[in-house]
């Protein structure tokens, strides 16, 4: 018990007495952690951009002008019941005409031509939004069933098909690239931290040899170095999160206009995902420090 307390207090004292070495190590740890967290944030932004783009995609199904409202309503209910559907809205024939007039209010020829017609030449429309862009072909196949097919005049999917597929491809690539980047930066972060620990212990190699010469056991020498590394990692993790959230609070309002006023979701992501992100980083750092300190100190413990 007394030895445990001594090891603990020794590691704590070393932290202050090797302040500059500790500060340099903390700085490297912070850089390693920030590089991972920044890539995570970029990944979140990329996903968000793709989500915004996907959100903008929809298809419009236009019915024949004489289609009874009951058919349109039935088609809407049918589509809404499908799990792939995010939302279906109806634009009535009258609303479609009003919208058309509004769009062409500066074009008297078109308006005059419309006035010549006795009946509304436009049919009702269903604006269909899927949860996933990949589901549009399926949904449009569904609406083509014989019950509705004869009433459908046109659909915009054929015009947007390429754009929808591109958004879908970009989304998938962004997610894979983001995951690979996070893995790469986590690896480099660990390499950097690994080297920082080795340098810190190398700087104290003579002390390690002296401790051995005056009769300290291997574990009595090793443990304070491992604990000391963990204290440094704890400080680095706290500081890196303070810096990260300060940066997020600054950058999110700057990014908001790029997302047409929608919240980019960076702060929300780190607020909701922090247990997973933080615990992963804590376990990775502590594991790395324990392993590297154990090996590096052992190198300098002579007989």
């Amino acid at each position: 018990m007394i030895t445990l307390w001594r090891i603990f207090s020794q590691s704590w004292k070393n932290l202050f007495r090797n302040a500059w070495l500790g500060a340099a190590t903390i700085f490297v740890f912070i850089m390693a952690l920030l590089s991972v967290n920044v890539v995570l944030a970029v990944n979140v932004l990329l996903t968000r951009v793709v989500a915004v783009l996907e959100d903008k995609v929809d298809v419009t199904v236009t019915f024949q002008p004489a289609t009874p409202d009951a058919v349109v309503t039935q088609a809407r209910f049918y589509l809404t019941s499908l799990p792939q559907i995010a939302g279906v809205s109806v634009i009535s024939a009258d609303q479609a005409l009003a919208d058309f007039r509004s769009r062409h209010e500066k074009d008297p020829k078109i308006l005059a031509a419309l006035d010549e017609l006795k009946a509304n030449p436009l049919g009702s429309q269903l604006v269909v939004k899927a949860k996933d862009a990949a589901d549009y072909p399926f949904l449009l196949g569904v609406i083509q069933n014989p019950q509705y097919a004869s009433f459908i005049q046109s659909r915009t999917y054929d015009d947007h098909q390429l754009a929808i597929q591109q958004v879908e491809t970009i989304g998938n690539k962004a997610r894979i690239t983001g995951a690979i980047l996070v893995a790469i930066f986590a690896f480099f972060g660990m390499l950097t931290a690994f080297n920082a620990i080795r340098v810190a212990i190398y700087a104290q190699r003579e002390e390690i040899a002296i401790m051995r010469l005056v009769g300290a056991s291997t574990s009595y020498i090793r443990t304070p170095f491992i604990l000391g590394g963990i204290w440094l990692a704890a400080v680095a993790i706290i500081l890196s999160y303070v810096l990260l959230f300060a940066a997020l609070h600054w950058i999110e309002p700057v990014l908001r206009p790029l997302f047409e006023g929608v919240n980019p979701g960076l702060i929300v992501y780190f607020q909701t995902e922090w247990p997973v992100v933080l615990l992963s980083e804590v376990f990775a750092m502590v594991g790395l420090i324990a392993l590297v300190s154990w090996a590096a100190v052992g190198k300098y413990i002579k007989r």
């Binding site: 007495r17 090797n18 002390e207 040899a209 401790m211 005056v214 009769g215 291997t218 009595y220 007989r303």
Partner: protein
């Protein structure tokens, strides 16, 4: 009474084939003050390293206080080091610890209680005349003071043996005399002292047993001997 230190036909060869010691046999009794002398490369430091198990002999047998340390295991070395106080020419003090903490460290690693440490360390610092320097760091001390801290650290265990490897190598004449007086006083309290040196003057002034090493072998072993120029 059995010997405190016993070496039987000890040889040490450093890889690939550099000889350090060759067939060295000697016996040192408890309470003796022995100077091991010789020129650079004679094997003095190799002998000192073998005594504290920093090196293993290639051949032969080494006994310390009846304990055969020839093939000592790694985890047994701390126990041996707590029985042998060691004084080095380059001090080997922990730079980030105060004088008090450096001396206390040798007790802490042995699991001595805090109360005992608080009792013993001031006493030992008083013996070496450093009671007023307890809170200083090594870099704030003179060479002579640093060496006295090292002696204090080596004494706190009440070791059976004090091994001093060139303890005055970095000191001026006055500090050299002070340190030698201290070693003699420690010997008078019953500790076996082994002084490894190439300083002819201090060995000749001691008039104690002198073992001369030459080319890794014992060239002479004389009670109340002298370190002669011709050796």
């Amino acid at each position: 009474m059995g010997p405190m230190i016993l070496l039987e036909h000890v040889s040490k060869i450093y890889p690939p084939d550099v000889p350090g010691l060759h067939d060295v046999s000697l016996s040192i009794l408890p309470g003796e003050f022995v100077s091991i002398v010789g020129q650079s490369g004679a094997g003095k430091t190799t002998l000192a390293k073998i005594l504290i198990a920093e090196e293993r002999p290639t051949r032969g047998r080494v006994m310390i206080g009846g304990w055969d340390i020839t093939r000592i295991r790694s985890h047994e070395i701390p126990e041996l080091r707590r029985q042998i106080g060691v004084v080095f020419q380059d001090y080997k003090l922990l730079p980030k610890k105060t004088v008090y903490e450096n001396v206390a460290f040798a007790l802490e690693v042995a699991g001595t209680s805090s109360r005992e440490i608080q009792r013993i360390v001031p006493q030992v610092l008083q013996i070496v005349g450093l009671e007023t320097r307890a809170n200083r760091f090594p870099m704030q001390l003179s060479g002579g003071e640093k060496q006295r801290v090292v002696i204090a650290r080596s004494l706190v265990h009440r070791p059976k043996i004090l091994l001093a490897d060139e303890p005055t190598g970095n000191l001026d004449t006055i500090n050299t005399r002070d340190i030698m007086d201290l070693l003699v006083k420690i010997n008078e309290f019953g500790t076996t002292v082994v002084l490894v040196t190439h300083n002819r003057e201090i060995v000749n002034a001691l008039r104690r047993r002198v073992i001369v090493l030459k080319d890794g072998e014992v060239a002479s072993d004389v009670q109340e001997g002298k370190y002669l120029l011709s050796v």
